[in-house]
């Protein structure tokens, strides 16, 4: 299916005028909101049953605008002409707390590629696993692959980076992996991929959860407190707690991808049923 023409035009513009293109995506998102785009209403009800319908409708529109902006951001990142494709930053980025070696844990929430703003400014080597689009400039890209031996190869490479004093960014996915650890998230048991926690434990590196969120046309990078390396289940529980607090304070950062992986194959409870 071909993409709608206005979005294609915005994605083309993103390579030359990234910030203007992101602003235009906001306008397009508002104009097209009556079409009912955005995160599935049933998903919002299941995650945040306490929200009144009007607030859910506003949130749905926000997720639609955020999704459009993210597509533009990705186009800018993939463009060879974009020197710095990121949107302006909301607030200060305090890098002094981030001293490598660190395991930086991300999630499928918010404008994920905007994490490159932080990753590109970290001191030392930064290995980015599994996050396409932000492996620019001085970042080292690593693909975790789908096979067991590929995941082992990526993990071994990450161990090398951390032992050499660098940092590693990787996504903490839910439910789809053979090596998982159980946590409670939004009141239900969820299986988080163990990779980030195992990496922190094996190398003795602190784990720092990070997530981006829109603040108007700007992006804020939210950086959690460092979680000391140790027991994987305890690290995972602390990470899940941080993620839930982040999403409750910024529900517009929920994405369909996150929702789908969060629920896995189970039929989620429907409070409206």
């Amino acid at each position: 299916m071909s993409r709608p023409r206005p979005r294609r035009a915005l994605q083309r513009a993103a390579g030359r005028f990234p910030r203007a293109a992101i602003a235009a995506a906001t306008v397009l998102g508002r104009a097209s909101a009556p079409l009912g785009r955005g995160l599935d209403d049933a998903a919002l009800r299941r995650f945040l049953p306490e929200l009144p319908p009007a607030e859910r409708a506003r949130l749905r529109q926000a997720t639609w605008i955020g999704w459009l902006r993210m597509r533009v951001l990705e186009a800018g990142l993939n463009s060879p002409t974009a020197r710095w494709p990121y949107p302006p930053l909301a607030g200060e980025l305090d890098l002094t707390r981030l001293r490598p070696p660190l395991v930086l844990a991300g999630f499928h929430v918010g404008p994920l590629p905007a994490l490159g703003i932080l990753l590109e400014q970290l001191p030392g080597e930064v290995l980015v696993l599994q996050l396409s689009g932000t492996a620019r400039r001085r970042l080292q890209a690593g693909w975790t692959g789908t096979e067991e031996w590929q995941r082992a190869a990526a993990l071994r490479r990450a161990v090398g980076t951390l032992r050499a004093g660098g940092s590693v960014f990787l996504l903490v996915d839910a439910n789809e992996f053979p090596t998982t650890v159980d946590v409670t998230l939004f009141g239900r048991t969820t299986r988080l991929a163990r990779g980030a926690f195992a990496l922190a434990r094996i190398t003795g590196s602190p784990l720092v959860p990070i997530a981006p969120r829109w603040r108007g046309g700007r992006v804020e990078i939210v950086v959690g407190d460092a979680i000391p390396p140790g027991d994987e289940a305890a690290m995972a529980a602390a990470t899940a707690g941080w993620l839930e607090r982040f999403l409750r304070s910024s529900p517009e950062a929920l994405s369909q991808l996150f929702v789908n992986s969060f629920w896995g194959d189970d039929e989620p409870p429907d409070p409206g049923a």
Binding site: E147, E148, W149, R151, A152, A153, L155, R156, R157, V159, G160, P178, T179, R194, G195, A198, I202
Partner: protein
């Protein structure tokens, strides 16, 4: 150069010592895959096994070895025997 037979013994000692309930008394042939369809180590277990081999047998990083495709026990022995 390390003796291959000696290296093979050490690699198997590490495997059995780390997971005695899984591997003690089992045949561990060179051709056994480390992952599924063989020893059944998941990606994290496999890396911890290789790191233990690096610590015990010294020197050679296994990054390149892992990048070469599914691992067999004999491939690990060869890797460290050639160090």
């Amino acid at each position: 150069m390390p003796d291959r037979a000696r290296t093979a013994v050490v690699v198997r000692e590490i495997l059995v010592g780390t997971w005695p309930l899984r591997f003690d008394g089992l045949p561990l042939p060179d051709e056994a895959l480390v992952g599924s369809g063989g020893l059944g180590l998941d990606s994290i277990d496999a890396v911890e096994f290789l790191l233990a081999c690096e610590d015990r047998l010294g020197g050679r990083s296994t990054e390149a070895l892992l990048a070469g495709g599914p691992l067999r026990l004999g491939g690990i022995v060869d890797h460290f025997a050639q160090a």
